[in-house]
Symmetry: D2
Subunit: 105 residues, 4 copies
């Protein structure tokens, strides 16, 4: 995968996680979404952190990508358990992003 494509996936995942975070906080049953809210924030932050690390040629890209892949997988697994469209869509993108990280490694 070329670098530009990978950055697009990371940014798409960060956006999707922040969108899901916002939507979860507006759900009727917020309590049920509390772990999803947490993981959405974790995942959005690590994806932007990795996107910046790649763009600035950080010496720690592989280590950050390893962590990013792990957090994306955890977020995908949580989102997958909820029926909301924003969660299912987020789960798909998080899995794609986790796989893109693994491809880099």
């Amino acid at each position: 995968m070329d670098q530009q494509k990978f950055l697009e996936i990371l940014n798409e995942c960060a956006t999707s996680c922040d969108n899901c975070y916002n939507a979860c906080l507006e759900e009727e049953n917020v309590k049920m979404m509390s772990n999803c809210i947490r993981l959405d924030r974790e995942c959005a932050e690590i994806c932007r952190y990795l996107a910046s690390a790649i763009s600035r040629n950080s010496p720690f890209i592989k280590e950050i990508a390893t962590l990013c892949s792990q957090i994306c997988t955890a977020c995908a697994n949580e989102c997958r358990q909820h029926e909301h469209d924003h969660c299912q869509k987020c789960a798909d993108i998080c899995m794609k992003c986790s796989e893109a990280c693994n491809e880099l490694l």
Copy 2:
């Protein structure tokens, strides 16, 4: 401008600034680039901050966009003074991003 297009510009600007930061640090005459290195970092950070704020529906989007527009303009003005391709390209994208922020406001 629709939100997805705006997010693409913000992410493109953040990437461009981090690329320019990295390239400046590898130039023969780093001293001449010190202010560009500073502003590239400032600009990359505020663009990602605003992208996240928009995606999570922050109550402070307009205030952050006002600051982002100002930092993008300062970074564009600095980059414009240097002949390196990475600086000229970064200046173009920073100006486009500053204008996109102003359009939102």
Copy 3:
């Protein structure tokens, strides 16, 4: 106020907001806390952003401090409405931090 004292307040406020964010997500009635969760995240992020800007001698310290003061006040006002200890404590620290920002300006 000297710079070190101001940085301590910013870091204390960021920690307090992240603590409150975590505690809100563990409350029985999470729905009632959704706006507090949002503002805690907003406030933690801007406080760390300003702490870094000050430490790296950013050219935009005043503009970031203006925004930080505003977000701290909004977070304090939200936290003040909730009886939980973590919210009341957070409201106190956010107000102190907002005032420290204003003192800088």
Copy 4:
């Protein structure tokens, strides 16, 4: 080590790295400092990232602390090679912070 003490060390290290970054960019011979500038930014960011992760009770504290310890050590090793007071001071704090991360692990 209790959590509050650990957070103080992380924040002290982030501040010290951003101070060193700023001072390096103002040195007469910036080229010689380019790797120090890079690592100061890397280290400041991961320290604030870990401080936030701890404060919000992230499920990934250990993984982030592992990365933080590694980046602190790399930054300490780079800073140690330069005679400037800001570099020597930063090297000391980065080593202390790396050890505090290891103590957590």
